[in-house]
Symmetry: C2
Subunit: 216 residues, 2 copies
């Protein structure tokens, strides 16, 4: 049975992992006969956002502890991730990816990336294993790998920043998956488009199925 | 198009709404051609639980604000719920249901229920509209309606408390739905059993489909 490592960035679209993308990714992995373990970095969130008002809240929360809400407690610190234990690596989206796993949300093409996130991507990439990224998570691939073909949908400002990082962007719509065969990375736009939950499920299922097909 | 009101109890299995059940319920509603609006009470959570350690955290969080993480901000206070706007009412599970919407987790057969939750159930029930409840949420129905047939799976302590409330419990396993035709309520056990995410999806899809079939 093929095993995915799924990396979360908190719990909630505006400061963490996008909950529908994360949940429907886990569902897709099991639906197509694979299994998963869940990881997140043991760091403070960049900030906490009230998801009704969009305003910052005067709180601090931990990315690993909040991600555990999606994982129902079955989660490990990303520092414990070992490439040899997994067949594939998957990053659901959410602003937390661009605020906690890297700072692309604030710095765009000048962004830095958390070393343990970069290490996970580099180790899987050097082993030739598939890496998938939903929504804004392809920014992690653009920050780590050279000349990578990715999609985040069609948002021109984001595309410009990603291309400054040396990535090649391919416009897509709901549920479409871009596979860069050279780097063996898979990307799909999900909520980077104005999507509903059926379209998120389609994106998650298509990317997981494409990654599993590549492993056959 | 049929419209569901979905009531959440926070964000996270141990102190709020169970995230997989909530997300997969929303997905099932759209998959079967219906639509939804999301509600939660504007109250403080009973407590905040670290989902890795299971320990209480020295924080306060609001049920409506945290539920908005699952709803991506599109949520209304439960006090704004009007029976006439909806065809069906659905409660995903999670300990938050038994800690925030009522106090069944602590008081069992002596539990009280939040008045606005009771009002929503009573108004839909008096209108003859279907009410669905996943996981531990059938406790809300046992606390509100008389002589109701429900299932929470097979946990004997929980069953005993529900029967003391006057409910009649029917044992079920993964994905099974109990329909009390008299009260027009639908229940399914989900994570009240030791389930995986595929089984949660099956439970959510089966209960939503059963509710929609009853509306035809």
């Amino acid at each position: 049975m093929k095993k995915f490592a799924v990396v979360l960035a908190g719990c909630g679209v505006y400061d963490g992992a996008e909950i529908h993308e994360a949940t429907l990714s886990l569902y897709a992995i099991m639906k197509y006969g694979a299994t998963y373990e869940i990881f997140a970095p043991d760091i403070q969130q960049f900030h906490v956002v009230n998801h009704i008002t969009g305003e910052e809240m005067p709180e601090t929360r931990n990315v690993l502890v909040e991600s555990a809400r999606i994982a129902r407690g079955k989660i490990q610190p990303l520092s414990a991730f070992k490439e040899s234990d997994f067949d594939a690596l998957l990053f659901p989206g959410g602003f937390g990816v661009a605020k906690n796993l890297c700072n692309f949300a604030f710095e765009g093409a000048n962004a830095g990336i958390l070393p343990e996130v970069k290490d996970a991507i580099v180790s899987m990439n050097e082993a030739g294993k598939p890496i998938g990224a939903l929504c804004i998570s392809p920014a992690l691939l653009a920050l780590t790998l050279d000349d990578v073909d990715i999609t985040i949908g069609s948002d021109s400002g984001t595309i410009e920043a990603l291309e400054k990082l040396g990535a090649h962007h391919i416009e897509t719509t709901h549920g479409e998956v871009v596979h860069d065969k050279n780097s063996n990375v898979f990307t799909t736009p999900c909520y980077m488009l104005d999507a509903n939950i059926l379209e998120i499920a389609a994106g998650a299922e298509n990317i997981v199925k494409s990654m599993l097909d590549s492993l056959e």
